[in-house]
Protein backbone atom coordinates (compact mmCIF):
# COMPACT_ATOMS: atom_id res chain seq x y z
CA UNK A 1 0.00 0.00 0.00
CA UNK A 2 2.89 2.28 0.75
CA UNK A 3 4.20 1.81 -2.74
CA UNK A 4 0.73 2.24 -4.22
CA UNK A 5 0.22 5.69 -2.66
CA UNK A 6 3.80 6.94 -2.89
CA UNK A 7 4.04 6.03 -6.54
CA UNK A 8 0.54 7.35 -7.28
CA UNK A 9 -0.22 4.00 -8.85
CA UNK A 10 -3.93 4.74 -9.34
CA UNK A 11 -3.06 7.82 -11.37
CA UNK A 12 -0.24 5.98 -13.16
CA UNK A 13 -2.57 3.13 -14.04
CA UNK A 14 -5.11 5.55 -15.47
CA UNK A 15 -2.38 7.30 -17.51
CA UNK A 16 -1.16 3.93 -18.66
CA UNK A 17 -4.57 2.69 -19.73
CA UNK A 18 -5.34 6.01 -21.38
CA UNK A 19 -2.22 5.77 -23.58
CA UNK A 20 -2.91 2.11 -24.21
CA UNK A 21 -6.47 2.65 -25.37
CA UNK A 22 -5.75 5.74 -27.45
CA UNK A 23 -2.91 3.88 -29.15
CA UNK A 24 -5.05 0.77 -29.66
CA UNK A 25 -7.93 2.81 -30.99
CA UNK A 26 -5.79 4.34 -33.69
CA UNK A 27 -3.84 1.21 -34.48
CA UNK A 28 -7.07 -0.74 -34.96
CA UNK A 29 -8.46 2.04 -37.13
CA UNK A 30 -5.29 2.34 -39.20
CA UNK A 31 -4.48 -1.35 -39.18
CA UNK A 32 -7.90 -2.41 -40.45
CA UNK A 33 -7.90 0.41 -42.97
CA UNK A 34 -4.46 -0.55 -44.28
CA UNK A 35 -5.51 -4.19 -44.29
CA UNK A 36 -8.58 -3.42 -46.40
CA UNK A 37 -6.66 -1.09 -48.73
CA UNK A 38 -3.84 -3.55 -49.29
CA UNK A 39 -6.44 -6.24 -49.93
CA UNK A 40 -8.10 -4.05 -52.53
CA UNK A 41 -4.79 -3.14 -54.11
CA UNK A 42 -2.64 -6.24 -54.30
CA UNK A 43 0.30 -4.41 -55.87
CA UNK A 44 0.45 -2.14 -52.87
CA UNK A 45 0.18 -5.02 -50.45
CA UNK A 46 3.72 -6.34 -50.63
CA UNK A 47 5.44 -2.97 -50.30
CA UNK A 48 3.18 -1.69 -47.53
CA UNK A 49 3.35 -4.85 -45.47
CA UNK A 50 7.13 -5.02 -46.00
CA UNK A 51 7.69 -1.47 -44.79
CA UNK A 52 5.54 -2.21 -41.76
CA UNK A 53 7.71 -5.26 -41.22
CA UNK A 54 10.79 -3.05 -41.28
CA UNK A 55 9.25 -0.80 -38.62
CA UNK A 56 8.53 -3.91 -36.62
CA UNK A 57 12.18 -4.97 -36.65
CA UNK A 58 13.35 -1.72 -35.07
CA UNK A 59 13.75 -2.40 -31.34
CA UNK A 60 11.08 -0.54 -29.39
CA UNK A 61 13.54 1.56 -27.39
CA UNK A 62 15.25 2.63 -30.60
CA UNK A 63 11.91 3.50 -32.16
CA UNK A 64 11.05 5.73 -29.21
CA UNK A 65 14.39 7.50 -29.54
CA UNK A 66 13.98 7.89 -33.29
CA UNK A 67 10.65 9.61 -32.74
CA UNK A 68 12.04 12.09 -30.21
CA UNK A 69 13.22 14.67 -32.79
CA UNK A 70 9.77 14.71 -34.40
CA UNK A 71 7.37 14.37 -31.50
CA UNK A 72 9.50 15.51 -28.56
CA UNK A 73 9.12 13.65 -25.32
CA UNK A 74 6.14 12.45 -23.35
CA UNK A 75 2.81 10.95 -24.26
CA UNK A 76 2.89 11.87 -27.98
CA UNK A 77 5.85 9.78 -29.17
CA UNK A 78 4.85 6.92 -26.90
CA UNK A 79 1.43 6.68 -28.47
CA UNK A 80 2.86 7.09 -31.97
CA UNK A 81 5.43 4.37 -31.36
CA UNK A 82 2.73 2.07 -30.00
CA UNK A 83 0.60 2.67 -33.06
CA UNK A 84 3.51 2.06 -35.46
CA UNK A 85 4.21 -1.17 -33.67
CA UNK A 86 0.65 -2.39 -33.55
CA UNK A 87 -0.44 -1.59 -37.08
CA UNK A 88 1.43 -4.52 -38.58
CA UNK A 89 -0.23 -7.44 -36.78
CA UNK A 90 -3.66 -5.90 -37.31
CA UNK A 91 -3.08 -4.93 -40.94
CA UNK A 92 -1.45 -8.24 -41.76
CA UNK A 93 -4.22 -10.27 -40.14
CA UNK A 94 -6.89 -8.16 -41.80
CA UNK A 95 -5.22 -8.65 -45.16
CA UNK A 96 -4.77 -12.38 -44.61
CA UNK A 97 -8.31 -12.75 -43.30
CA UNK A 98 -9.88 -10.94 -46.24
CA UNK A 99 -7.78 -12.88 -48.72
CA UNK A 100 -8.42 -16.30 -47.24
CA UNK A 101 -12.19 -16.39 -46.91
CA UNK A 102 -13.19 -19.84 -48.22
CA UNK A 103 -14.00 -19.75 -51.91
CA UNK A 104 -17.42 -21.32 -51.53
CA UNK A 105 -18.69 -18.28 -49.61
CA UNK A 106 -17.37 -15.87 -52.20
CA UNK A 107 -18.78 -17.99 -54.98
CA UNK A 108 -22.24 -18.12 -53.46
CA UNK A 109 -22.14 -14.41 -52.65
CA UNK A 110 -21.27 -13.66 -56.28
CA UNK A 111 -23.93 -16.01 -57.51
CA UNK A 112 -26.58 -14.46 -55.29
CA UNK A 113 -25.81 -11.14 -56.91
CA UNK A 114 -23.80 -9.26 -54.32
CA UNK A 115 -21.70 -6.42 -55.68
CA UNK A 116 -17.93 -6.50 -55.13
CA UNK A 117 -18.38 -3.97 -52.37
CA UNK A 118 -21.10 -5.99 -50.70
CA UNK A 119 -18.99 -9.13 -50.93
CA UNK A 120 -16.18 -7.26 -49.17
CA UNK A 121 -18.23 -5.74 -46.38
CA UNK A 122 -21.01 -8.30 -45.91
CA UNK A 123 -19.01 -11.46 -46.42
CA UNK A 124 -15.24 -11.08 -46.43
CA UNK A 125 -14.96 -8.62 -43.59
CA UNK A 126 -17.27 -10.33 -41.08
CA UNK A 127 -15.68 -13.68 -41.85
CA UNK A 128 -12.24 -12.15 -41.22
CA UNK A 129 -13.20 -10.87 -37.77
CA UNK A 130 -11.75 -13.85 -35.85
CA UNK A 131 -8.38 -13.30 -37.51
CA UNK A 132 -8.55 -9.53 -37.12
CA UNK A 133 -9.35 -10.04 -33.43
CA UNK A 134 -6.27 -12.26 -33.24
CA UNK A 135 -4.19 -9.43 -34.69
CA UNK A 136 -5.62 -6.99 -32.19
CA UNK A 137 -4.76 -9.38 -29.40
CA UNK A 138 -1.12 -9.36 -30.48
CA UNK A 139 -1.32 -5.57 -30.77
CA UNK A 140 -2.54 -5.33 -27.17
CA UNK A 141 0.57 -7.11 -25.95
CA UNK A 142 2.89 -4.97 -28.13
CA UNK A 143 1.21 -1.76 -27.04
CA UNK A 144 1.43 -2.73 -23.40
CA UNK A 145 5.20 -3.11 -23.76
CA UNK A 146 5.76 0.13 -25.63
CA UNK A 147 3.53 2.17 -23.31
CA UNK A 148 5.47 0.84 -20.34
CA UNK A 149 8.73 1.90 -22.02
CA UNK A 150 7.20 5.35 -22.42
CA UNK A 151 8.12 5.86 -18.79
CA UNK A 152 11.68 6.37 -20.08
CA UNK A 153 10.71 9.43 -22.08
CA UNK A 154 8.49 11.09 -19.51
CA UNK A 155 5.22 9.77 -20.79
CA UNK A 156 4.00 8.88 -17.33
CA UNK A 157 2.06 5.70 -16.86
CA UNK A 158 3.21 2.67 -14.95
CA UNK A 159 6.54 2.80 -16.78
CA UNK A 160 7.30 5.98 -14.89
CA UNK A 161 6.67 4.24 -11.60
CA UNK A 162 8.96 1.40 -12.63
CA UNK A 163 11.67 3.92 -13.63
CA UNK A 164 11.39 5.52 -10.21
CA UNK A 165 11.77 2.18 -8.57
CA UNK A 166 14.82 1.32 -10.65
CA UNK A 167 16.50 4.69 -10.06
CA UNK A 168 15.82 4.58 -6.32
CA UNK A 169 16.70 0.91 -6.25
CA UNK A 170 13.41 0.40 -4.44
CA UNK A 171 12.72 -3.30 -4.67
CA UNK A 172 9.18 -2.94 -3.34
CA UNK A 173 8.21 -0.44 -6.02
CA UNK A 174 9.84 -2.47 -8.75
CA UNK A 175 8.17 -5.70 -7.69
CA UNK A 176 4.74 -4.31 -7.03
CA UNK A 177 4.60 -2.12 -10.15
CA UNK A 178 6.11 -4.87 -12.26
CA UNK A 179 3.62 -7.40 -10.98
CA UNK A 180 0.78 -4.92 -11.52
CA UNK A 181 1.83 -4.21 -15.12
CA UNK A 182 2.13 -7.91 -15.72
CA UNK A 183 -1.30 -8.55 -14.23
CA UNK A 184 -2.91 -5.87 -16.38
CA UNK A 185 -1.21 -7.30 -19.46
CA UNK A 186 -2.46 -10.81 -18.65
CA UNK A 187 -5.98 -9.57 -17.99
CA UNK A 188 -6.14 -7.51 -21.19
CA UNK A 189 -4.73 -10.39 -23.20
CA UNK A 190 -7.32 -12.64 -21.61
CA UNK A 191 -10.13 -10.28 -22.55
CA UNK A 192 -8.81 -9.97 -26.10
CA UNK A 193 -8.55 -13.75 -26.28
CA UNK A 194 -12.13 -14.10 -25.11
CA UNK A 195 -13.34 -11.72 -27.78
CA UNK A 196 -11.36 -13.64 -30.38
CA UNK A 197 -12.93 -16.90 -29.23
CA UNK A 198 -16.40 -15.43 -29.29
CA UNK A 199 -15.87 -14.46 -32.92
CA UNK A 200 -14.47 -17.88 -33.71
CA UNK A 201 -17.40 -19.61 -32.06
CA UNK A 202 -19.94 -17.35 -33.68
CA UNK A 203 -18.57 -17.81 -37.15
CA UNK A 204 -18.57 -21.54 -36.79
CA UNK A 205 -15.89 -24.17 -37.20
Amino acid sequence: MRVWTSQLLTLRTLEHLYMLFVALFFSILLGVLIGVLTYKNRKLAASVLNSLNVVETIPDVALLVLLLPIFGIGVGPTIVASILYSILPIARNTYTGLSNVPREYIEIADALGLTQREVLFKVRFPLSLPLIAGGIRIAVVFTMGVVTLGGLIAAGGLGAALQNGIQLYDMGTILITGAWVGLIAVILDGIAGMIENIFKARYGK
Binding site: L112, L114, Y203, G204
Partner: protein
Protein backbone atom coordinates in the same frame (compact mmCIF):
# COMPACT_ATOMS: atom_id res chain seq x y z
CA UNK B 1 -31.92 1.12 -54.81
CA UNK B 2 -34.71 0.19 -57.14
CA UNK B 3 -33.80 -2.69 -59.34
CA UNK B 4 -35.41 -3.70 -62.54
CA UNK B 5 -35.90 -7.37 -63.10
CA UNK B 6 -34.20 -8.46 -66.31
CA UNK B 7 -36.99 -10.99 -66.96
CA UNK B 8 -40.14 -12.13 -65.17
CA UNK B 9 -40.48 -15.48 -66.84
CA UNK B 10 -38.43 -17.73 -69.00
CA UNK B 11 -39.62 -18.54 -72.49
CA UNK B 12 -36.32 -19.99 -73.48
CA UNK B 13 -32.69 -19.91 -72.53
CA UNK B 14 -30.29 -20.63 -75.35
CA UNK B 15 -26.64 -21.46 -75.42
CA UNK B 16 -25.25 -21.05 -78.90
CA UNK B 17 -21.80 -22.23 -79.96
CA UNK B 18 -20.56 -21.56 -76.46
CA UNK B 19 -16.88 -22.26 -75.93
CA UNK B 20 -14.73 -21.76 -72.87
CA UNK B 21 -11.07 -22.67 -72.68
CA UNK B 22 -8.73 -22.81 -69.73
CA UNK B 23 -5.28 -22.72 -71.21
CA UNK B 24 -5.21 -25.35 -73.95
CA UNK B 25 -7.99 -27.35 -72.45
CA UNK B 26 -11.59 -26.94 -73.49
CA UNK B 27 -13.92 -26.65 -70.52
CA UNK B 28 -16.90 -26.31 -72.84
CA UNK B 29 -16.64 -26.79 -76.57
CA UNK B 30 -19.13 -25.45 -79.08
CA UNK B 31 -22.13 -26.09 -76.89
CA UNK B 32 -25.57 -25.64 -78.38
CA UNK B 33 -28.40 -26.14 -75.97
CA UNK B 34 -31.86 -24.79 -75.56
CA UNK B 35 -33.61 -24.81 -72.23
CA UNK B 36 -37.34 -24.46 -72.59
CA UNK B 37 -39.40 -22.33 -70.25
CA UNK B 38 -40.80 -24.34 -67.35
CA UNK B 39 -38.69 -27.45 -67.82
CA UNK B 40 -36.13 -29.03 -65.58
CA UNK B 41 -33.11 -29.74 -67.70
CA UNK B 42 -30.46 -32.01 -66.27
CA UNK B 43 -26.81 -31.57 -67.20
CA UNK B 44 -25.11 -34.84 -66.54
CA UNK B 45 -21.56 -36.01 -67.07
CA UNK B 46 -18.39 -37.04 -65.31
CA UNK B 47 -16.43 -34.48 -63.38
CA UNK B 48 -14.56 -32.28 -65.81
CA UNK B 49 -17.14 -32.81 -68.54
CA UNK B 50 -18.00 -29.12 -68.55
CA UNK B 51 -21.43 -29.29 -66.97
CA UNK B 52 -20.69 -26.92 -64.10
CA UNK B 53 -18.88 -24.50 -66.39
CA UNK B 54 -21.89 -24.45 -68.70
CA UNK B 55 -24.16 -23.79 -65.73
CA UNK B 56 -22.08 -20.93 -64.42
CA UNK B 57 -21.94 -19.21 -67.75
CA UNK B 58 -25.70 -18.73 -67.63
CA UNK B 59 -25.51 -16.30 -64.72
CA UNK B 60 -22.17 -14.93 -65.88
CA UNK B 61 -20.07 -16.29 -63.06
CA UNK B 62 -17.94 -17.42 -65.97
CA UNK B 63 -17.84 -15.54 -69.25
CA UNK B 64 -17.58 -17.66 -72.39
CA UNK B 65 -14.66 -17.13 -74.78
CA UNK B 66 -16.98 -17.29 -77.74
CA UNK B 67 -20.59 -17.98 -78.54
CA UNK B 68 -23.58 -16.48 -76.87
CA UNK B 69 -26.07 -17.20 -74.14
CA UNK B 70 -29.45 -15.62 -74.27
CA UNK B 71 -32.54 -15.55 -72.11
CA UNK B 72 -35.81 -14.88 -73.93
CA UNK B 73 -33.74 -13.91 -76.93
CA UNK B 74 -31.67 -11.29 -75.13
CA UNK B 75 -27.95 -11.89 -74.76
CA UNK B 76 -27.12 -12.18 -71.05
CA UNK B 77 -24.17 -9.83 -71.59
CA UNK B 78 -26.70 -7.05 -72.04
CA UNK B 79 -27.91 -7.48 -68.48
CA UNK B 80 -26.20 -6.02 -65.47
CA UNK B 81 -24.57 -9.12 -63.93
CA UNK B 82 -25.78 -8.18 -60.45
CA UNK B 83 -29.41 -7.80 -61.55
CA UNK B 84 -29.11 -10.95 -63.64
CA UNK B 85 -27.85 -13.01 -60.72
CA UNK B 86 -30.44 -11.63 -58.33
CA UNK B 87 -33.03 -12.86 -60.79
CA UNK B 88 -31.59 -16.38 -60.98
CA UNK B 89 -31.74 -18.73 -58.01
CA UNK B 90 -28.48 -20.54 -57.34
CA UNK B 91 -27.89 -23.61 -55.20
CA UNK B 92 -24.59 -25.46 -54.87
CA UNK B 93 -23.49 -28.74 -53.36
CA UNK B 94 -21.65 -27.33 -50.38
CA UNK B 95 -24.58 -24.99 -49.83
CA UNK B 96 -22.49 -21.96 -48.90
CA UNK B 97 -24.67 -20.63 -46.13
CA UNK B 98 -22.79 -17.67 -44.74
CA UNK B 99 -21.68 -18.82 -41.29
CA UNK B 100 -21.84 -15.38 -39.69
CA UNK B 101 -25.48 -14.86 -40.58
CA UNK B 102 -28.54 -16.40 -38.96
CA UNK B 103 -30.88 -18.48 -41.08
CA UNK B 104 -33.23 -15.52 -41.45
CA UNK B 105 -30.34 -13.26 -42.49
CA UNK B 106 -29.03 -15.80 -44.97
CA UNK B 107 -32.39 -16.22 -46.62
CA UNK B 108 -33.16 -12.50 -46.51
CA UNK B 109 -29.69 -11.28 -47.50
CA UNK B 110 -30.54 -10.11 -50.98
CA UNK B 111 -33.92 -8.77 -49.89
CA UNK B 112 -32.09 -6.58 -47.42
CA UNK B 113 -29.62 -5.42 -50.07
CA UNK B 114 -32.63 -4.67 -52.22
CA UNK B 115 -33.86 -2.40 -49.41
CA UNK B 116 -36.95 -4.34 -48.51
CA UNK B 117 -38.61 -3.30 -45.26
CA UNK B 118 -37.62 -5.42 -42.26
CA UNK B 119 -41.18 -6.62 -41.67
CA UNK B 120 -41.63 -7.64 -45.31
CA UNK B 121 -38.34 -9.52 -45.24
CA UNK B 122 -39.36 -11.49 -42.16
CA UNK B 123 -42.69 -12.30 -43.70
CA UNK B 124 -41.05 -13.55 -46.88
CA UNK B 125 -38.43 -15.56 -44.95
CA UNK B 126 -41.18 -17.21 -42.90
CA UNK B 127 -43.06 -18.12 -46.05
CA UNK B 128 -39.94 -19.60 -47.68
CA UNK B 129 -38.91 -21.60 -44.61
CA UNK B 130 -42.39 -23.07 -44.42
CA UNK B 131 -42.12 -23.98 -48.07
CA UNK B 132 -38.95 -26.01 -47.43
CA UNK B 133 -40.48 -27.62 -44.32
CA UNK B 134 -38.46 -25.76 -41.70
CA UNK B 135 -40.73 -24.28 -39.03
CA UNK B 136 -39.67 -20.61 -38.95
CA UNK B 137 -40.21 -20.20 -35.21
CA UNK B 138 -37.56 -22.87 -34.60
CA UNK B 139 -35.06 -22.08 -37.32
CA UNK B 140 -35.15 -18.35 -38.07
CA UNK B 141 -32.66 -17.35 -35.40
CA UNK B 142 -30.24 -20.26 -35.71
CA UNK B 143 -26.77 -20.08 -37.15
CA UNK B 144 -25.88 -22.42 -39.99
CA UNK B 145 -23.52 -24.51 -37.86
CA UNK B 146 -26.47 -25.30 -35.60
CA UNK B 147 -28.24 -27.06 -38.47
CA UNK B 148 -27.90 -30.56 -39.91
CA UNK B 149 -26.73 -31.00 -43.49
CA UNK B 150 -30.25 -31.55 -44.77
CA UNK B 151 -31.55 -28.52 -42.92
CA UNK B 152 -28.74 -26.40 -44.33
CA UNK B 153 -29.60 -27.56 -47.83
CA UNK B 154 -33.23 -26.56 -47.29
CA UNK B 155 -32.15 -23.12 -46.13
CA UNK B 156 -29.97 -22.89 -49.25
CA UNK B 157 -33.00 -23.68 -51.36
CA UNK B 158 -35.11 -21.12 -49.51
CA UNK B 159 -32.40 -18.51 -50.04
CA UNK B 160 -32.32 -19.22 -53.76
CA UNK B 161 -36.05 -18.61 -53.90
CA UNK B 162 -35.93 -15.34 -51.96
CA UNK B 163 -36.25 -13.04 -54.95
CA UNK B 164 -38.80 -15.29 -56.59
CA UNK B 165 -36.56 -15.90 -59.59
CA UNK B 166 -38.04 -17.46 -62.75
CA UNK B 167 -34.85 -19.46 -63.35
CA UNK B 168 -32.84 -21.71 -61.05
CA UNK B 169 -29.34 -23.05 -61.48
CA UNK B 170 -28.54 -25.99 -59.25
CA UNK B 171 -25.15 -27.62 -59.03
CA UNK B 172 -25.49 -31.04 -57.39
CA UNK B 173 -27.62 -29.58 -54.64
CA UNK B 174 -28.21 -32.93 -53.00
CA UNK B 175 -24.77 -34.38 -53.71
CA UNK B 176 -23.38 -34.05 -50.22
CA UNK B 177 -26.31 -35.70 -48.47
CA UNK B 178 -26.64 -39.31 -47.44
CA UNK B 179 -28.79 -41.38 -49.81
CA UNK B 180 -31.86 -41.57 -47.61
CA UNK B 181 -31.96 -37.86 -46.97
CA UNK B 182 -31.22 -37.22 -50.62
CA UNK B 183 -34.26 -39.10 -51.84
CA UNK B 184 -36.42 -37.39 -49.25
CA UNK B 185 -35.23 -33.97 -50.37
CA UNK B 186 -35.65 -34.96 -54.01
CA UNK B 187 -39.29 -35.81 -53.31
CA UNK B 188 -39.86 -32.52 -51.54
CA UNK B 189 -38.06 -30.70 -54.30
CA UNK B 190 -40.34 -32.30 -56.88
CA UNK B 191 -43.34 -30.99 -54.97
CA UNK B 192 -41.90 -27.50 -54.70
CA UNK B 193 -40.96 -27.60 -58.35
CA UNK B 194 -44.53 -28.41 -59.32
CA UNK B 195 -45.90 -25.64 -57.11
CA UNK B 196 -43.55 -23.04 -58.44
CA UNK B 197 -43.34 -24.12 -62.05
CA UNK B 198 -39.92 -22.60 -62.59
CA UNK B 199 -37.33 -23.26 -65.21
CA UNK B 200 -34.45 -25.18 -63.70
CA UNK B 201 -31.02 -26.21 -64.93
CA UNK B 202 -29.73 -28.95 -62.71
CA UNK B 203 -26.23 -30.39 -62.70
CA UNK B 204 -25.70 -33.89 -61.38
CA UNK B 205 -23.61 -36.98 -62.00
CA UNK B 206 -26.24 -39.29 -60.56
CA UNK B 207 -28.32 -40.84 -63.34
CA UNK B 208 -31.05 -41.95 -60.97
CA UNK B 209 -31.45 -38.40 -59.75
CA UNK B 210 -31.53 -37.29 -63.38
CA UNK B 211 -34.31 -39.74 -64.22
CA UNK B 212 -36.21 -38.86 -61.14
CA UNK B 213 -36.18 -35.10 -61.54
CA UNK B 214 -35.41 -34.29 -65.15
CA UNK B 215 -37.83 -33.43 -67.91
CA UNK B 216 -34.92 -33.63 -70.31
CA UNK B 217 -31.37 -34.72 -69.83
CA UNK B 218 -28.31 -33.32 -71.56
CA UNK B 219 -25.34 -35.66 -71.48
CA UNK B 220 -21.93 -34.00 -71.58
CA UNK B 221 -18.55 -35.59 -72.08
CA UNK B 222 -15.12 -34.03 -72.59
CA UNK B 223 -16.51 -30.50 -72.78
CA UNK B 224 -19.03 -31.43 -75.46
CA UNK B 225 -22.73 -32.09 -75.53
CA UNK B 226 -23.27 -35.68 -76.56
CA UNK B 227 -27.03 -36.01 -76.53
CA UNK B 228 -30.03 -34.21 -75.17
CA UNK B 229 -33.46 -35.70 -74.80
CA UNK B 230 -36.10 -37.04 -72.48
CA UNK B 231 -35.09 -39.90 -70.19
CA UNK B 232 -36.96 -42.28 -72.48
CA UNK B 233 -35.16 -41.06 -75.58
CA UNK B 234 -31.81 -41.58 -73.92
CA UNK B 235 -32.77 -45.05 -72.77
CA UNK B 236 -34.22 -46.23 -76.05
CA UNK B 237 -32.04 -44.46 -78.53
CA UNK B 238 -28.69 -43.54 -77.05
CA UNK B 239 -26.46 -41.98 -79.72
CA UNK B 240 -23.38 -43.86 -78.62
CA UNK B 241 -22.03 -46.37 -76.13
CA UNK B 242 -21.05 -43.67 -73.70
CA UNK B 243 -24.64 -42.46 -73.37
CA UNK B 244 -25.86 -46.06 -73.28
CA UNK B 245 -23.50 -46.72 -70.44
CA UNK B 246 -24.54 -43.64 -68.52
CA UNK B 247 -28.24 -44.37 -68.85
CA UNK B 248 -27.50 -48.04 -68.40
CA UNK B 249 -29.51 -49.08 -71.45
CA UNK B 250 -28.45 -52.68 -71.04
CA UNK B 251 -30.53 -52.82 -67.97
CA UNK B 252 -33.41 -50.74 -69.18
CA UNK B 253 -35.92 -52.54 -67.07
CA UNK B 254 -34.39 -50.83 -64.09
CA UNK B 255 -35.85 -47.65 -65.43
CA UNK B 256 -39.25 -49.04 -66.17
CA UNK B 257 -40.69 -46.74 -63.55
CA UNK B 258 -39.51 -43.73 -65.52
CA UNK B 259 -41.50 -44.81 -68.56
CA UNK B 260 -44.86 -43.63 -69.68
CA UNK B 261 -47.45 -45.36 -71.83
CA UNK B 262 -46.32 -43.25 -74.78
CA UNK B 263 -42.89 -44.84 -74.73
CA UNK B 264 -44.09 -48.37 -75.17
CA UNK B 265 -47.31 -48.05 -77.14
CA UNK B 266 -47.41 -49.21 -80.74
CA UNK B 267 -48.50 -46.69 -83.25
CA UNK B 268 -52.06 -47.41 -84.27
CA UNK B 269 -52.15 -48.25 -87.92
CA UNK B 270 -55.27 -47.68 -89.95
CA UNK B 271 -55.53 -51.33 -90.83
CA UNK B 272 -56.34 -52.17 -87.21
CA UNK B 273 -59.54 -50.19 -87.33
CA UNK B 274 -62.78 -51.76 -88.47
CA UNK B 275 -65.72 -49.73 -89.56
CA UNK B 276 -68.69 -50.43 -87.22
CA UNK B 277 -71.07 -50.81 -90.11
CA UNK B 278 -69.13 -53.78 -91.37
CA UNK B 279 -70.79 -57.19 -91.16
CA UNK B 280 -69.06 -59.87 -89.14
CA UNK B 281 -68.38 -61.91 -92.24
CA UNK B 282 -66.72 -59.05 -94.09
CA UNK B 283 -64.72 -58.22 -91.01
CA UNK B 284 -63.54 -61.82 -90.85
CA UNK B 285 -62.46 -61.70 -94.49
CA UNK B 286 -60.64 -58.46 -93.97
CA UNK B 287 -58.84 -59.57 -90.85
CA UNK B 288 -57.80 -62.84 -92.43
CA UNK B 289 -56.56 -61.06 -95.52
CA UNK B 290 -54.55 -58.43 -93.68
CA UNK B 291 -53.39 -60.92 -91.10
CA UNK B 292 -54.87 -59.35 -88.01
CA UNK B 293 -55.32 -61.28 -84.81
CA UNK B 294 -57.14 -58.41 -83.26
CA UNK B 295 -58.91 -55.31 -84.48
CA UNK B 296 -60.64 -52.28 -83.09
CA UNK B 297 -64.16 -51.29 -83.78
CA UNK B 298 -64.32 -47.55 -83.67
CA UNK B 299 -67.55 -45.65 -83.36
CA UNK B 300 -66.47 -42.58 -81.46
CA UNK B 301 -64.07 -41.78 -78.64
CA UNK B 302 -66.58 -42.90 -75.99
CA UNK B 303 -67.33 -46.11 -77.75
CA UNK B 304 -64.52 -48.29 -78.90
CA UNK B 305 -64.36 -52.03 -78.81
CA UNK B 306 -61.86 -54.68 -79.62
CA UNK B 307 -62.46 -57.96 -81.36
CA UNK B 308 -60.16 -60.92 -81.65
CA UNK B 309 -60.23 -63.04 -84.73
CA UNK B 310 -61.95 -65.78 -82.72
CA UNK B 311 -64.68 -63.40 -81.59
CA UNK B 312 -65.42 -62.49 -85.17
CA UNK B 313 -65.42 -66.12 -86.16
CA UNK B 314 -67.90 -66.95 -83.39
CA UNK B 315 -70.04 -64.00 -84.39
CA UNK B 316 -70.18 -65.21 -87.96
CA UNK B 317 -71.28 -68.68 -86.84
CA UNK B 318 -73.82 -67.46 -84.32
CA UNK B 319 -75.13 -64.74 -86.59
CA UNK B 320 -74.17 -61.86 -84.33
CA UNK B 321 -73.21 -58.46 -85.59
CA UNK B 322 -69.71 -57.08 -85.30
CA UNK B 323 -71.03 -54.60 -82.76
CA UNK B 324 -72.21 -57.38 -80.48
CA UNK B 325 -68.91 -59.23 -80.75
CA UNK B 326 -66.80 -56.23 -79.78
CA UNK B 327 -65.87 -55.83 -76.14
CA UNK B 328 -64.86 -52.58 -74.52
CA UNK B 329 -61.15 -52.25 -73.83
CA UNK B 330 -59.15 -50.19 -71.35
CA UNK B 331 -58.33 -46.67 -72.46
CA UNK B 332 -55.18 -44.85 -71.45
CA UNK B 333 -53.72 -41.41 -71.78
CA UNK B 334 -50.19 -41.49 -73.25
CA UNK B 335 -48.85 -39.59 -70.24
CA UNK B 336 -49.73 -42.00 -67.48
CA UNK B 337 -46.92 -44.13 -66.07
CA UNK B 338 -46.43 -47.43 -67.83
CA UNK B 339 -46.55 -49.38 -64.59
CA UNK B 340 -49.94 -47.96 -63.74
CA UNK B 341 -51.29 -48.93 -67.15
CA UNK B 342 -49.90 -52.43 -66.88
CA UNK B 343 -51.46 -52.85 -63.46
CA UNK B 344 -54.85 -51.89 -64.87
CA UNK B 345 -54.53 -54.28 -67.79
CA UNK B 346 -53.70 -57.04 -65.40
CA UNK B 347 -56.59 -56.20 -63.08
CA UNK B 348 -59.04 -56.18 -65.95
CA UNK B 349 -57.62 -59.35 -67.42
CA UNK B 350 -56.87 -57.64 -70.71
CA UNK B 351 -53.78 -57.97 -72.79
CA UNK B 352 -54.25 -54.78 -74.76
CA UNK B 353 -55.40 -51.23 -74.23
CA UNK B 354 -56.05 -48.29 -76.46
CA UNK B 355 -54.11 -45.09 -76.04
CA UNK B 356 -56.16 -42.00 -76.67
CA UNK B 357 -54.63 -38.63 -77.25
CA UNK B 358 -56.97 -35.67 -77.48
CA UNK B 359 -59.84 -38.10 -77.96
CA UNK B 360 -58.19 -39.70 -80.99
CA UNK B 361 -56.73 -43.18 -80.96
CA UNK B 362 -52.98 -42.73 -80.91
CA UNK B 363 -51.67 -46.18 -80.21
CA UNK B 364 -52.15 -49.57 -78.71
CA UNK B 365 -50.53 -50.88 -75.60
CA UNK B 366 -49.92 -54.62 -75.64
CA UNK B 367 -48.94 -55.96 -72.28
CA UNK B 368 -46.97 -58.81 -73.80
CA UNK B 369 -44.98 -56.48 -76.02
CA UNK B 370 -43.78 -54.34 -73.13
CA UNK B 371 -41.10 -56.81 -72.25
CA UNK B 372 -39.98 -57.06 -75.87
CA UNK B 373 -39.50 -53.33 -75.98
CA UNK B 374 -37.56 -53.33 -72.78
CA UNK B 375 -35.10 -56.06 -73.49
Amino acid sequence: MVSRKPFDRIDSCRLEKVTKKYGDRFAVKNLNLEIQGGELLILIGKSGSGKTTALRMINRLIEPDSGSISVNGIDVREFDPILLRRNIGYVIQNIGLLPHLRVSENVGLILKLESWKEEKIRERVRYLLNLVSLPPQIFMERYPHELSGGQQQRVGLARAMAMNPPLFLMDEPFGALDPLLRSQLQDEFCKIKKELGRTIVFVTHDINEAFRLGDRIAVMNNAELVQVGTPEELIFSPVNDMVAEIVDSKRKYRHIDALKVRDIMQPLEKRYILHPGLSAALALDYMAKVGLEVALVFWNPENIGRVYLNDVLNAVFSGKSLEEAAKPLPLFSPEIPLLEALARLKAEGESMGLVLEADKPAGILFSDRVLENLI
